[in-house]
Symmetry: C2
Subunit: 534 residues, 2 copies
Amino acid sequence: MRYWNSWGTDTTEKPTITEGARQFVRENLGEGRILPQATLEEVCAKVPASRLPDHELICKDVEHRVRHARGQSLPDWVAMKSGVFDRFPDGVAYPETPDQIRELMDLAREKDFVIIPYGGGTSVAGHINPPALDKPVLTLSLEHMNRLVSLDTESQVATFGPGTPGPMVEAQLARSGYTLGHFPQSFELSTIGGWVASRSSGQQSLRYGRIEQLFAGGRLETFEGTLDIPTMPASSAGPDIREMVLGSEGRMGVLSEVKVRVSPTPEKEKFFVVYFPNWRDGFNCTKTAVQSRIPLSMLRLSNATETFTQLKLAGHEDLIAMLEKYLRFRNVDEGKCMLTFGITGTRAQYRAAHRQIRRLVRHYNGVGMTIGDRIGRIWEKGRFRFPYLRENLWQEGYAVDTLETSVDWSRVDNTLNAMEDALRGALADQGENVHVFTHLSHFYAQGSSIYTTYLFRCGETYEETVANWRKLKSAASQAVVAHGGTISHQHGVGRDHAPYLSAEKGELGMAAISTLCQRFDPEGRLNPGALLEA
Amino acid sequence: MRYWNSWGTDTTEKPTITEGARQFVRENLGEGRILPQATLEEVCAKVPASRLPDHELICKDVEHRVRHARGQSLPDWVAMKSGVFDRFPDGVAYPETPDQIRELMDLAREKDFVIIPYGGGTSVAGHINPPALDKPVLTLSLEHMNRLVSLDTESQVATFGPGTPGPMVEAQLARSGYTLGHFPQSFELSTIGGWVASRSSGQQSLRYGRIEQLFAGGRLETFEGTLDIPTMPASSAGPDIREMVLGSEGRMGVLSEVKVRVSPTPEKEKFFVVYFPNWRDGFNCTKTAVQSRIPLSMLRLSNATETFTQLKLAGHEDLIAMLEKYLRFRNVDEGKCMLTFGITGTRAQYRAAHRQIRRLVRHYNGVGMTIGDRIGRIWEKGRFRFPYLRENLWQEGYAVDTLETSVDWSRVDNTLNAMEDALRGALADQGENVHVFTHLSHFYAQGSSIYTTYLFRCGETYEETVANWRKLKSAASQAVVAHGGTISHQHGVGRDHAPYLSAEKGELGMAAISTLCQRFDPEGRLNPGALLEA
């Protein structure tokens, strides 16, 4: 069963937090502040009467409405933990066919309500939160449309229901020997339609591409009719309609079918972890690897604080002690930086890539290649476990959040430092420390994403906690924008990033996007407030 | 000097046509019909008075107007050869700065004229032809904005003037050890701005990507202001503005600066030609190569008729005789298909790719790998020479044109056959043969482009020639659309393909594109009639 007020499901093996980790956090941030948590019953009792009409496709049950009221942003957590939701959707629908989606949209026009398309509810930017409107709000959950509809093995194109979550995408493809290869951190819960709507990127985008490269076409139900996007490998015939749907965050229409480019399950895949004596060596190795097109499937370079923190929080204390001893022996100690990478392909391709990266790691003074696959296996096993740690920390009285951007290589260092500095100093006036660390991932010849995690102590109250988060988020977002970074490389815009979007799109770019949304949804009934502020 | 009524410049080494080739064409199509050609003087004498106002940036010289009146489509050739142009631009401007572009756009609004942005004038789909309008037409040639403005070697991003032609792009980058790697057939004359505006693709797109992947940002001057597109390696923040500009064919604005992703000059590059005993083997080898991600930089598979025709037309008669003898000895004879491929990269990557493709070619009964690089060098030397052959054939009384699409793998065979059949039969009612052959190139895991060339005899008159071309073009275009192919994989839409665009975009897709164009150019002053019929 999915948790109603936390990440994940109760059937998943979760990480634990060791005494050493607990002590590390306490030393850095002070004694945690454990705030009282509301129960599901208490929250359900607060849900007001629904303003939606009765309809066989609309469920007005209060628990359903609570469970679809919020995503996974930090303000969402504060709402779920405190029980102060402000708003709930007036109902939830679970259509099973494109026709039912259309039926609900027709009803929305007739009965004057708005619709929030809902995939896995994993947004960390407020994509699916009910807006403050006089009109009733229907959350349209696509979770029942979760099947592999067809698979063209010759063209390697698979057609899915839009609400298919990551594990069901992979399991249904695996039966025929295929993979999509899209593994965002939210993989366990997020859906293929959500990936398209929010321009998602997965851990192995270096091989498989971002969702922009994987999305081949499909159907979008709009208020002006159905937009059918046929599959074609490429076209020079005018602007690409796919690219207008990608990132439209439910403002243009509801995806009722998603076609994606799949690949045969690779013959061989392994992940490795190696260590560099300092940031500069790791940075140069990674940049060179991607710019010289070494065919890796993932790369992730942690800065010294992230490396240090991960080793503290990882568990596996005996193994880590042994590793640290070995690294010291190889003169990789204080300031060391961890690089995680994956090699995927045919056996011949695997061998070729392994040879190339091994040589490069050595050239840049990296060590640990020989034992690197053992730690790589630990990473692989826990690759979707990180979000669960948020709950562990919360229970100790600490909040954790992440933010990210991407910039050209010539701006990576300055942007990273500015983001970290902004976060570290944001609560100084209250005498509160913020523990900040960063990795680069999602590498491109042109630049890299920058992914920063920050831990801070909960406030005395929920209000103070969310107020502190706002200070942190706003300071870091301003730093991102000031350095020419995108307000999001992989989380999307939602409501939390909307105020910063115009910095990268410009006035005319914003006008273009807004014109498109209006063209497909002239009455503004679809997810108002997401992507565009108005 | 650029030819005013043919492809290319008079300083380029051109291919010659052998007696054997001449005979081959004559046997297939009958005696050529050589039509009388107009001279430049005759055409200049027909140019009407300009309707444009006097302005220091506007040149009204008749020869300039003749030289910018048409592109390189077959109807354009008929116009240029016959001297019957119908329309000329009322003037040509050669702005040198973004400000001068804006000045001319302001003037267009003030004096009520329309503007056709003009790159290299290499369109084969009627992109830059003056429309039939009451308003004066200014052709805005960007040829003076042809410089590398800046190069960020760390991020591998280069900023160019929009009118920089292929050879100047490469030469200016080569000085710093970089390449763009974009080599369309029109490379010698087409420009970087034109590539973006028409969503171009180059011969080595397998390595470097299409222009969509290379275009990193820049400036578009629109009637609503300047659209600045900042460079970022990737973003999930809403629909991608770059993708709206790509393929906008001058309808949204005039590119005044183009930023592209460049690569270091590769350590090693070679091209190879090998032969398969039949289409099926060649098809399977090529499809497997691309779907299993063998890191090649180009692939081009000719069908049996193209292979046969190329060997007939290639010149190098002794070498070809020797080759054919060798192939017969290896049981590769009638029905054989030629595969051209390129390997590009570091030495280690070259070796790895060479090993992988060699094994695959052998597996699919391909032969000639050991001597393949010698013929590959001939291909490389002549890679931009093919368009010159059109003039040779024209002088013999024959017309040649090409058309292309892309489709998913499961549709390639049927679409290819339908296109060829449509062309072969299109002039049957007149008892005219059409010589048709095809290659696949621009490969994707999902499918392939299909590039078909057709030769036919000129008509008794120019009118008959262009009428026959219309029958051919329309038959093939209908076949493309009926099989779900894009109306263009690399040539763009222009005016010739505009009637077929809605087949792939759908009514709503067309509405989206049209809405965007109107948002940026509310009065319809930019290239009216291109891309969208209205």
